[in-house]
């Protein structure tokens, strides 16, 4: 385990692929679900397009509750559901489920903020020319919010990457798993700090891409 080339080839690379896999699909699913939640939150809020006090309150409580759970605890708590949904409770796919469940309310809150930041004047103008609520959400709010939402997605990707490393402790594989088992528990500093280095590079890259997109889109 002290031959760097071998370590990279047989340990780091597969772990990197697993991490990216979890992060990518975790982001995709949580953004889709989170966006849906955000739209419902924005629309049903008191000052929204079609206020529904109870729908909003219920969702609000649900989102807050899920966000209160530490990731590890939640992942363990929902193991039976994970098994029912994903068919297994070990491995990358099994980790994906709690990752999405945790990220989803986070995404919902961030997107909610982004959509709410669209100037009310624009929404008013759209109402005045006879746009429907659907058109206001997708043609006005979403279109105007896209640049900031890019920044938000960047935040989400990095946060999921972080959670996925933690998922390593639950047998999900990935870089977190490598750092923990091959590095920390085996007293192998090269592997432990090597993994951290890879994570640092990943986070930097993701943030740069996010900023670049924001500047392009705004």
């Amino acid at each position: 385990m002290n031959d760097p080339a071998l370590v990279i080839k047989s340990v780091m690379m597969p772990a990197l692929v697993e991490s990216l896999y979890m992060t990518f699909w975790g982001t995709v699913f949580s953004c889709i679900l989170g966006f849906g939640l955000a739209v419902i939150l924005v629309v049903t809020a008191e000052d929204g397009l079609s206020p529904h006090k109870w729908v909003y309150r219920l969702l609000n409580v649900l989102v807050n509750t899920l966000r209160s759970f530490p990731f590890i605890i939640l992942a363990v708590t929902i193991i039976p559901i994970t098994r029912a949904v994903m068919g297994t409770s070990i491995g990358t796919n099994a980790a994906l489920f709690p990752l999405v469940i945790v990220a989803c309310p986070f995404v919902a809150r961030v997107f909610e903020g982004n959509l709410k930041a669209v100037t009310p004047g624009m929404i008013e103008a759209a109402k005045a020319f006879g746009a429907s609520n659907m058109q206001i959400i997708f043609k006005i709010m979403l279109k105007e919010a896209i640049p900031v939402m890019c920044i938000s997605v960047t935040l989400v990707v990095i946060s999921i990457l972080g959670s996925s490393s933690m998922a390593g402790a639950l047998g999900a594989g990935g870089l977190g798993n490598v750092a923990l088992i091959y590095g920390y528990q085996s007293f192998n500093d090269l592997i432990m700090y090597g993994t951290v280095f890879i994570l640092v590079v990943l986070v930097q890259t993701i943030q740069s891409i996010g900023n670049l997109l924001y500047n392009k889109l705004k």
């Binding site: 005045a128 020319f129 006879g130 429907s132 609520n133 105007e144 896209i146 640049p147």
Partner: protein
Amino acid sequence: MIKVKNLDKSFGELHVLKNVSLEVQKGEIFGLIGKSGEGKSTLLRCINLLEKRDGGTITLNGQAADFKRSREVREYRKGIGMIFQHFSLLERQNVYKNIAAPMECWGYSKQEIDEKVRELVKIVGIEDKLYEKPRNLSGGQRQRVAIARALSMDPQVLLSDEATSALDPQTTQSILQLLRDINERLGITILLVTHEMEVIRSICHRVAIMEHGEVADCGKVSEIFLNQPGSLKRLLGETAEVLPEEGVNIRMVFKETEENRSLIPDITCATSVRFSVIYSRLEKFRDEVICTTMLNVQEEDLAKVTAYLDTLNIRWEVALHE
């Protein structure tokens, strides 16, 4: 054209509109003026149903604005263009897309949209800015884009909510000229809300002065300025005039016409009273000119002078010292 009857609206405890009635005629430019917080914007927003009214009726072209289905509300709004103080443009879309937005929402074909957008930018005079983003435009140009967008659905009425309040005086004038032009060339009725007397003076045919959620006075702009009702004085804020302490000061307000151009010497000839002219100024109201003159006469001559003014049908009042 637009009939508002007994309109009532409250925001919680705050009674914003109290039994407001007014009628806007087809083809005119009607101004609603008042201090801020007097309910004029709310009235405007009630007319295109952006705000729900608590009571009263609104009719547009004889059709009552009472709708159950959202589709009907949208159809109704389609016939009413609206412009805002802060333009309310889509910041990420260029001018073309901004003007096209309502037509896209209403499912117009690409070709129809293209023709209309090109026609509209010509009307509002921003042909060269078609592919610019709003952030690269000046305030006046932004308002022109908003006006083009408001006209894109061929509305019968244009509502303007403080459309010139964020603009400098020169730009305000150019936007007002554009609105007048649109009113005259396209025959679009305009109902505008403003707190600037200048707007009323330059383009409005009729005006309603709002005070505490009620229409205090309503009528032809020049008539209102001739009559000088209390609401107008309160709105203009009586500036402390420097007037002579001795004698009586008479303020006369009259239309500038051929006959009364020589009013001052006429008074002297007819009454042989000696008096002094404190000031005299001309103001333009759309296309009419109104003259305000302040005279100072001796107490004993007052009856003579005012009797003569009455024969000429010239409105006068005694100006009081502060």
